[in-house]
């Protein structure tokens, strides 16, 4: 029974990671690619860590799995915020169908600074 739970959880996690990779190829610009890759891969890693905790069923392994999960969930928003900011400031082109760009109305385009 535990073996089946492990197998199904790791299959769900692997599917989410594969979807993140497909999203990073298929999406039209940097920011949509980032949101596809980050959210799906974080959830996929969470499922895989749950599978590892169930499969190993050892207190030290469970603590390690929880600490990897906590680490990824703390650092992945930070690192993606930092890349998105760097990408916007280095003028990565937005997708032609972009509807709202709130930062632009707060920026002076000539001096390239915030108002």
């Amino acid at each position: 029974m535990m073996d089946w739970l492990t197998g199904v959880l790791s299959l769900i996690g692997a599917t989410l990671v594969l979807l993140a990779a497909v999203g990073i190829v298929r999406m039209p610009d940097l920011f949509t690619r980032m949101q596809a890759a980050t959210k799906a891969s974080t959830l996929g890693l969470g499922c895989l860590l749950a599978a590892a905790a169930v499969a190993l069923a050892d207190s030290s392994a469970v603590v390690r799995a929880l600490s990897i999960g906590a680490f990824i969930m703390l650092t992945s928003p930070v690192s993606n915020h930092v890349i998105a900011r760097a990408g916007y400031l280095t003028k990565v082109p937005l997708w032609s169908g972009t509807v709202v760009d709130e930062w632009r109305s707060h920026r002076d385009l000539e001096s390239d600074r915030d108002l």
């Binding site: 073996d3 089946w4 492990t6 197998g7 199904v8 790791s10 299959l11 996690g13 692997a14 599917t15 990671v17 594969l18 993140a20 990779a21 497909v22 990073i24 190829v25 940097l30 690619r33 980032m34 890759a37 891969s41 974080t42 996929g44 890693l45 895989l48 860590l49 599978a51 590892a52 499969a55 190993l56 050892d58 030290s60 392994a61 390690r64 799995a65 600490s67 990897i68 680490f71 990824i72 650092t75 992945s76 930070v78 690192s79 993606n80 930092v82 890349i83 900011r85 760097a86 990408g87 400031l89 280095t90 990565v92 082109p93």
Partner: protein, 89 residues
């Protein structure tokens, strides 16, 4: 059908994700696209280590996963600092 087959299938799918993300590293029109793809490759390497721990019932693979996660985060932040500083000069 054995549950082990599902774990092996998961390993195969994560390896496929690895190579699909590599396409974006080669194509990526701008540098931040490549960095995002490399970040995803780092996360899928962590996932591969976790599945290897499940497959071999060996908790030492989880330690490797911690190290890869830490290095991926530091690399991404270092790139972003570099890009913003280069913009200012």
């Amino acid at each position: 059908m054995q549950p082990d087959v599902l774990v092996n299938l998961a390993e195969f799918m994560i390896s496929a994700a690895f190579f699909i993300a590599l396409i974006r590293v080669f194509w990526g029109p701008t540098l931040p696209d490549r960095v995002v793809a490399v970040d995803l490759i780092g996360v899928s390497a962590v996932c591969l280590m976790v599945v290897a721990a499940v497959d071999s019932k060996e908790p030492a693979f989880l330690d490797t996963a911690v190290v890869i996660a830490l290095l991926g985060f530091l690399g991404t932040v270092a790139y972003a600092r570099y890009a913003e500083r280069r913009r200012r000069e």
